[in-house]
């Protein structure tokens, strides 16, 4: 459960609250005379940026410099519609251009090497940190209870040979950065780059963060997180709403644009490897799913209904597969799927999709018999496996079976 934050929210909400120095900005939707006034106040120059939930905006042409009002207005319109890594911008905004001789990278994140938060800094800013050589970046662990002290940040900068007259200013803003990070329940936050003016004053010139929604601080104080256009299908959107409606049992799906197998899968780990196996064996799964976590009957019924209403009509095979459950009651989940299937047929007329099932876990036999009974009633062809057949073998079989059926149809 993570909430992503882009630069515009940082500029509008977080930066001022935590006294982090940032360039002045104005929304691209502001009145023309307001934009004109801003440009005049900023020395006639500005950077137009797309407000999009994706990195690498510059490479996509969604960050451009402008020197007059006419260019500014044109670029606001243009970058608002530039797709970045498949993501559409929400809007565009203008920021003051900060003259700089140096750009610095900083990030605070929970780090698996420290099992706690850490600060990473580099004097090579403005680029992807993965591309920076190891000896040009420094990472220090932060005591979760004590927080980040200025002297610790100072030592990190000093270890990289940071100009001495900058260390004090950068250390101070790092403490502010930590305050923002820890006060808002963030799990990772990156300011890249800090642009350092010739006078040695740092400005945070880009920002991205992930807020941990499991952290109560994520809700206090109540920042407004705008909605960004998502490239998600109606199916994913409906399931996401359904998933958010309750924490009892998982209801995760991600469309894969496959065309053959409709997979109802159980267990985060197992569902991933089943889907990988299906893809590798040519099963063309329509989506990736995880419906484990012992969903109650109504939860599973609703989940199955959504899957069927969106995909059953065009699926070539229905696969219901999971490993040996530890907690999930197989009879409850399978009865719900069986009922959803029968309801679907009652509402939409007969289907002839073959069904492959594999499962293990508490109250297995009752669950398998409930499914078998429903399939017999609906006269659907089926093959049902128990936990003695590995899930990946079942997945391989399902992939071969669906391709066999497709070949028959072609003949």
């Amino acid at each position: 459960m993570a909430l992503r934050v882009a630069e515009l929210t940082f500029l509008e909400y977080f930066a001022s609250r935590y006294n982090i120095p940032v360039p002045r900005h104005i929304s691209g939707a502001a009145e023309i005379h307001e934009i004109k006034k801003s440009l005049e106040g900023w020395g006639g120059e500005a950077i137009v940026k797309a407000d999009v939930m994706s990195g690498k905006r510059g490479k996509a042409g969604a960050v451009v410099g402008v020197k007059n009002l006419r260019d500014a207005l044109r670029e606001v319109k243009r970058v608002s519609s530039v797709e970045v890594n498949g993501k559409m911008p929400r809007t565009a905004y203008l920021v003051e251009k900060i003259p700089a001789g140096l750009e610095i990278y900083t990030a605070i994140t929970y780090n698996s090497a420290f099992l706690g938060p850490s600060l990473t800094v580099s004097l090579v800013g403005g680029v992807d940190i993965e591309e920076v050589e190891e000896d040009k970046k420094a990472t220090i662990g932060i005591n979760t209870y004590d927080g980040l002290d200025a002297y610790q940040a100072g030592e990190a900068f000093a270890s990289l040979g940071c100009p001495k007259d900058l260390i004090s200013n950068m250390s101070r803003v790092m403490v502010l950065f930590w305050d923002l990070f820890i006060s808002c329940g963030m799990e990772t936050a990156e300011i890249n780059p800090w642009r350092i003016t010739p006078e040695g004053k740092p400005y945070a010139c880009d920002f991205k963060a992930v807020i941990d929604e499991s952290n109560y601080k994520a809700k206090v104080p109540a920042a407004v997180f705008p909605e960004y256009p998502e490239n998600i299908s109606d199916f994913e959107e409906e399931m996401a709403e359904w998933s958010a409606a309750s924490h009892r049992g998982q209801a995760h799906v991600s469309s894969l644009e496959g065309t053959k197998i409709l997979p109802l899968l159980f267990g985060g780990g197992v569902s991933t490897i089943i889907t990988e196996t299906l893809e590798a064996a040519g099963g063309s799964p329509i989506f990736l799913s995880d419906f484990g976590g012992n969903p109650p009957y109504e939860r599973m019924l609703g989940t199955a209904r959504i899957c069927f209403s969106h995909h059953l009509a065009r699926a070539k095979l229905l696969l219901i597969l999971g490993g040996k459950a530890n907690n999930t009651f197989v009879d409850v989940t399978f009865q719900a799927i069986a009922d959803a299937l029968i309801s679907y047929v009652e509402e939409n007329g007969p289907v002839d999709v073959p069904v492959v099932i594999g499962r293990g876990g508490p109250r297995l036999v009752k669950g398998l018999l409930a499914m078998k009974q429903a399939l017999d009633y609906l006269k659907l062809p089926y093959v049902i496996f128990g936990p003695d057949t590995p899930v990946t073998m079942v997945a391989e079989y399902a992939a071969k079976l669906v391709n066999g059926i497709v070949r028959l149809e072609e003949v």
Partner: protein
């Protein structure tokens, strides 16, 4: 870590305490664990002190807090292992309490809870490290030690002995489910397990792989290690770096999942799988393992040529690309390195369909795609035979014209839900037969049977003035037959008279929606709180409705037209049933809730006196208690439960109506129910056409 080897995480003789033990999952898992190994000394749950978790190996005591558990548990049973099942917002507090009171005794905390914030996870790590306590999790499933036959948490599900037979493989996995699946698959290669350890898959895994490998290295019974790895974190890189320094004498077999997420730019359900940085990707993890092993991933169809090069690589291990190749890869390593299998017999993994019905499609498919049904292994085979008998009746929607679950007659024996009516007549009561006919199951004990009987009696009559009794009398007075008088009794019941019980069932189901009630006849500490909340909600609605000048929905089955003049009022029929429940040493949570509710309504000023809990309420409470296990197990629809409550009242009252008919027929005068014209009033003045 504090632990020096894997057995330090769990061994025979360790005692376990479980937080939030009365929760749905925790109580169920604890009962299974207790049956398997009996290592739980107690549990705690806020507000639930004094309760017990019943298990087949004796009761597990429940304390109010960890401090109380620690104070009242005998020294020889003090828990050194803690299993945390608390909700996410409570986990930090629980850990702080464990650290405070359990210092020097508690060695390991296993945190099962999902959705614990990463900040809290980091804080837990820090305080536990200072207190010299190891933490596994968050979001772990627990641990199992197969040789000692002990487990913590749900590892192995209901039947841990099925998947975890003592052997020489330790399985360490980011996924809880995979520990059981892999251990089970390994049996096919003649290999058992020494430990199964799901690490959890949150962003921070507090038992890093490099430390677990060190523990496995020191465990004498572990000869080989299987890893199931997901994207996220740099644990594997760090572990292999550590191995380069310290060495690892035991081969690894590794499966890395999750590359699909990177390929499709999606994040997996697991929080820790959000890929950050190149080292944490599935692809990078695959590469780093392949580099360490110095051999390409295992290929099922490849013929491996033995020699020093292969031996040297396999001594380090190999990566597999399909999960079901793990047993094959383990077999290869065991064979090439001259290791011993754990069991002489082994059965290769294969497709074994239990049920097949491909019909016409099967005839058109190639033989390998149209398998014949295999043999269902035990204990499932027996279960299939047994359960098929019951399930054959079918609980799906279908044409019911010639079909019934409820009754049958094979020409010899009439039956109710499969039970011989003749046997029921000989051995059981009418109440038992009715419970069976209405719910599909016999009563669980005599207590239920007697309660049901009492509700039928209570419904018989409340005097001749009741609407339904009047219905019977009217029909009799008009010269009708008994069946018509009985129908008239039924016809004069409605939503207000008699139907209130059905409303009560819906009201109770709504009120108890968020409460985990396993046994409706046990005491639950939260009822008073629930009643106060319900009363306060009602007051708000009532006030708002009054201000708006509109009608508000009343709480069903409170108050009575006769029993209403005292400061505290009772319906005497309800009292009899209530007393019987108490004398039996039991509770009925729904009826108890009703009593808390009438007090709370008086307390908050919604009512002037304490209203009577009326007979409809007690009928609803009793029958909801009888139906409860099936409602919880989703074996009964809500509609049926609602209807049963009404039917119970109607059946009692229609018998009462018959009594009124017999009396009235014998002693009434002709047309005596007619009201003389002069006694009738008109409210309309005469008008002309």
């Amino acid at each position: 870590m504090r632990a020096g080897n894997l057995a330090d995480l769990l061994k025979k003789g360790d005692w376990v305490a479980v937080s939030n033990i009365t929760g749905r999952e925790a109580s169920h898992v604890s009962a299974v664990s207790q049956k398997y190994c009996g290592n739980i000394s107690g549990g705690w749950a806020l507000g639930k002190g004094g309760q017990k978790i019943e298990t087949s190996k004796g009761d597990i005591p429940v304390f109010a807090t960890f401090e109380e558990l620690f104070r009242l548990t005998p020294p020889e049973r003090l828990p050194n292992k803690i299993l945390v099942y608390s909700p996410p917002e409570a986990v930090f507090g629980e850990v702080k309490e464990i650290v405070k009171y359990g210092e020097k005794i508690v060695e390991t905390i296993f945190i099962v809870t999902e959705h614990v914030s990463v900040e809290v996870t980091a804080k837990i790590y820090q305080i536990c490290q200072q207190a010299n306590i190891d933490v596994i999790g968050c979001n772990t499933l627990g641990i199992i030690n197969s040789h000692d036959q002990v487990r913590i948490g749900a590892v192995g599900g209901e039947t841990p002995e099925e998947s975890f037979r003592p052997g020489s493989v330790t399985v360490i996995s980011n996924s809880g489910n995979m520990v059981g699946t892999i251990s089970s698959d390994l049996l096919s290669a003649g290999m058992g397990s020494s430990f199964g350890l799901p690490t959890g898959k949150d962003k921070l895994i507090l038992s890093p792989l490099k430390e677990l490998l060190l523990l496995a290295e020191r465990d004498e019974k572990t000869k080989l290690i299987v890893l199931y790895v997901e994207p996220g974190g740099t644990y594997e890189h760090d572990a292999l770096e550590a191995i380069k320094e310290d060495g690892l004498s035991k081969p690894l077999v590794v499966y890395v999942a999750g590359e699909i997420a990177e390929r499709h730019h999606i994040s997996l359900g697991h929080a820790g799988s959000v890929v950050e940085g190149s080292k944490s990707s599935a692809r990078a993890k695959k590469q780093v393992f392949d580099g360490y092993f110095g051999i390409e991933p295992f290929r099922f169809e490849k013929k491996y040529h033995r020699g020093p090069v292969l031996s040297a690589s396999l001594a380090k291990g190999i990566r597999v690309q399909a999960l079901h190749h793990i047993p094959k890869a383990v077999t290869l390593i065991v064979s090439v390195l001259g290791m011993k299998k754990d069991f002489s017999s082994s059965k290769p993994l294969r497709l074994n369909p239990w049920f097949v019905s491909l019909g016409e499609l099967g005839k058109r498919l190639p033989a390998d795609l149209s398998p014949s049904p295999g043999i269902v292994p035990e204990p499932y085979g027996e279960q299939v035979n047994e359960q098929s008998k019951h399930l054959l009746t079918g609980m799906i929607r279908q044409s019911m014209r010639k079909t019934s679950h409820a009754s049958s007659n094979d020409g010899v024996t009439p039956r109710i839900y499969g039970y011989s009516l003749l046997d029921i007549m000989k051995e059981r009561s009418l109440a038992a037969a009715l419970i069976l006919y209405w719910t599909g199951e016999l009563p669980r004990d005599k207590f239920e049977e007697r309660l049901a009987e009492m509700t039928l009696m209570a419904a018989l009559t409340n005097g001749p003035g009741t609407i339904s009794a009047q219905g019977a009398k009217l029909a009799t007075s008009a010269g009708n037959n008994p069946n018509t008088a009985m129908i008239a009794t039924l016809a004069t019941m409605g939503l207000t008279h008699g139907g209130n019980g059905a409303k009560a069932v819906r009201f109770l189901l709504d009120s108890f929606a968020d409460l985990e009630i396993d046994d409706p006849y046990r005491e639950y500490g939260e009822l008073q709180k629930l009643a106060v909340k319900t009363a306060d909600d009602f007051k708000k609605k009532k006030t708002a409705a009054k201000e708006a000048g509109i009608e508000y929905e009343r709480i069903p089955c409170l108050g009575h037209p006769v029993f209403r003049h005292e400061a505290v009022n009772y319906d005497p029929r309800e009292r009899i049933i209530y007393s019987y429940i108490k004398e039996s040493g039991r509770e009925n949570v729904f009826l108890e809730f009703y009593h808390h509710l009438v007090l709370a309504l008086k307390e908050n000023g919604s009512t002037a006196v304490v209203l009577a809990v009326n007979v409809d309420a007690v009928i609803a409470s009793v029958w909801l208690g009888i139906c409860w296990p099936q409602i919880r197990e989703k074996q009964m629809t809500i509609t049926r439960a609602v209807d049963i409550s009404f039917i119970a009242f109607a059946l009692g009252r229609v018998a009462g109506g018959a009594g009124e008919f017999l009396d009235h027929q014998d002693f009434g005068t002709e047309m005596d129910m007619r009201i003389p014209v002069k006694e009738c009033r008109t409210l309309t003045s005469p008008r002309k056409l």
